[in-house]
Subunit: 351 residues, 2 copies
DNA sequence: TGGAGCGGTTGGAGCGCTCCAACAATTGCA
DNA sequence: TGCAATTGTTGGAGCGCTCCAACCGCTCCA
């Protein structure tokens, strides 16, 4: 598999290496005759320029790396898509590195990009210690998406979590709810921020005393369990604000199994507005984050650093919005002053 | 951001470039004293070897590229995870290229990897013309996962679709179903194979006359629409074999909305056994493909080519299995000889 | 008629590394 | 005691490209 080089093409076309190089780079002042000769020779030989040699000689790579904490998270996938679109528009190659939720894998991917001399790296949802990020930022432009990192030289793109939680709570309060519980994401990435934002929102609406956080994690099973726990404790609220859509979906399942109707008996709000929430069958009210936009801004921040020489770090805080679907409505008539007393009925909907 | 080179490290440590190179590559016969001196100098300077220069000089990269047709497909993500694990075990770097379901983006990613002189490339679910794949295979080792490609020099890893469909149909037949419809994936990747496999399975069980393909695509909305269509036509079968889990989920929603219970009134089988199917709330019986294994085998095929010099192409056909959950059961009592006559009831489960 | 200017082309140096032959310093053994 | 073998270290060539100064042959115009 020894691939042809510039030299081979030059020889076959009867020109110098330099001329071939010019043609390959699409230079303008090359005679049409030679250009076609070179192109033909290149095609015959199946020649493709060696990017390693080119990068070395040019001292630039026009490549951006994106490190994804988890390939399975649709939220991250959207950010990557947004980043890809922006990279393409600006004429950069984009490479991905996937870390299966392992810090070591994240570090590996970051180092691989640094070694390849990627000009910038976007870290998406990574759990790398900020000191390491700051360290890397000394030799490559770095933007962090979907995580708070306050470091000089590191750009960040996040969405306003406090606002997101407030939108959810406000919506529910507007519908007449007071007992609004939060099933949290445990120690998942961003869970504590969201939990805090929920508490703050409750307080802002004078519902501090109704604040209730039920421990969970970012899975549907955790959502289901949390609801079962609430049912067992006889402390079901009239509305649940779940840490994300997956948790909300799990909660919904358990509620229906318990014979409760959504949203007639209990309202449900998720977070992230994933495809799951949009599913006709679930139709979850959910807080949307502008994911594509986040990826795009991360890349554009890098490009500002690279091409306009910006040095001062930038923080983008994007505005989430609430997408209202069918999982939220006014609380049941009798529940406005009291907590709903649950009569466990036989499951319906599934025989 | 001009990064330090070997030369800089050598000067600072008071040794030759060669010695630094040896240390960086972990060579054994270097005195302990110099090794620590070099390491210290490298650390002070924040030195990381330039992979471009190294790859160029070494004429190898120990890098594999993975081109994903779609970052959002959890099926592909699992294949990538399997590939990553195998690559790491064999000491290769793995880079991802994501194409948002665009052939052009797939081609771009493939070419980027070829230009970087990746030693092998795994194409996951790509829609690239086979001629192009064959062409690329002349200069880099290529394995294709989750798609049929019969080309010399190209390894393939697929799962046995005919068996998968047979498992689904067999399961339903075993439960007593005869009217088993298929909601297909339209012209999505692999949809026609699956459709054919369904027809073949129906025939194998002597149910050729009951064969019914309802057109759809790989979305939950299509699944929902297909069911609505069947309801409108008054031709609801007792069981539905959906092209994938998303379609099954959509179908389930429409069925429940129509007041039908799953699996009491209609049984449902999905495909891919995604996280969606496993969700407590849906609990879909589904055909599982060994996805991680597929990724692993793709990478191992490449490594056989690279390290053992295998030239003859290899085709891995993996065995799917059925994961039975709660969406399938025996057909309703009266339905065994006749088609179910649907009495449209008010939706339940959701008020 | 003799430059200046221009489009097109070329050789050579250099990018940061590896690899190899060669060498210096030590050790082992006849 | 002499020489081979061994261990540790080094300079230089070369990987495949880009970039730059220089050059060639023309045309154009003073």
């Amino acid at each position: 598999m020894t691939r042809p080089t510039l030299e081979d093409v030059a020889r076959r076309a009867g020109v110098s290496r330099s001329l071939v190089s010019l043609v390959m780079r699409g230079a303008s002042n090359v005679s049409e005759q030679r250009r076609t000769a070179v192109l033909a020779a290149a095609k015959d030989l199946g020649y493709r320029p060696n990017a390693n040699a080119r990068n070395l000689a040019q001292k630039r790579t026009r490549t951006l790396g994106v490190v994804l904490n988890d390939l399975h998270n649709p939220f991250f996938a959207d950010i990557a898509d947004g980043a890809a679109a922006a990279a393409a528009e600006h004429g950069y190659h984009m490479l991905l590195g996937a870390a299966s939720r392992s810090v070591d894998a994240e570090r590996d991917a970051l180092h691989t990009f640094m070694d390849l001399r990627a000009e910038g790296v976007v870290l998406v949802g990574t759990t790398l210690p900020s000191a390491e990020i700051a360290d890397a930022a000394r030799s490559v432009a770095i933007a962090v998406a979907s995580r708070q990192v306050r470091q000089p030289d590191v750009d960040t793109v996040i969405s306003d979590e406090r606002l997101g939680a407030r939108l959810a709570v406000e919506h529910l309060v507007g519908l007449g709810h007071r007992k609004i519980a939060h099933i949290d994401g445990g120690d998942g990435a961003g869970a504590s921020t969201r939990r805090g934002a929920y508490s703050a929102a409750m307080k802002a609406f004078g519902l501090e005393s109704e604040t209730k956080v039920v421990p969970g994690e970012f899975t549907d099973l955790a959502g289901a369990r949390a609801v079962e726990q609430m049912l067992a404790d006889g402390e079901l609220p009239t509305a649940i604000f779940a840490a994300n859509d997956l948790v909300a979906a799990g909660a919904l399942g358990s509620l229906e199994d318990a014979g409760l109707a959504i949203p007639a008996d209990v309202s449900l709000v998720g977070y992230d507005n994933t495809a799951l929430a949009a599913m006709h069958h679930l139709s979850l009210t959910s807080v949307h984050q502008p994911r594509l936009e986040m990826g795009r801004l991360a890349v554009e921040s890098l490009i500002e650093r690279l091409e306009e020489g910006r040095a001062r770090p930038v923080r983008h805080v994007l505005t989430p919005r609430l997408v209202v679907r069918e999982s939220s409505a006014a609380p049941p008539a009798g529940a406005r002053r009291n907590s709903l007393s649950v009569s466990r009925a036989a499951p319906i909907g599934r025989a």
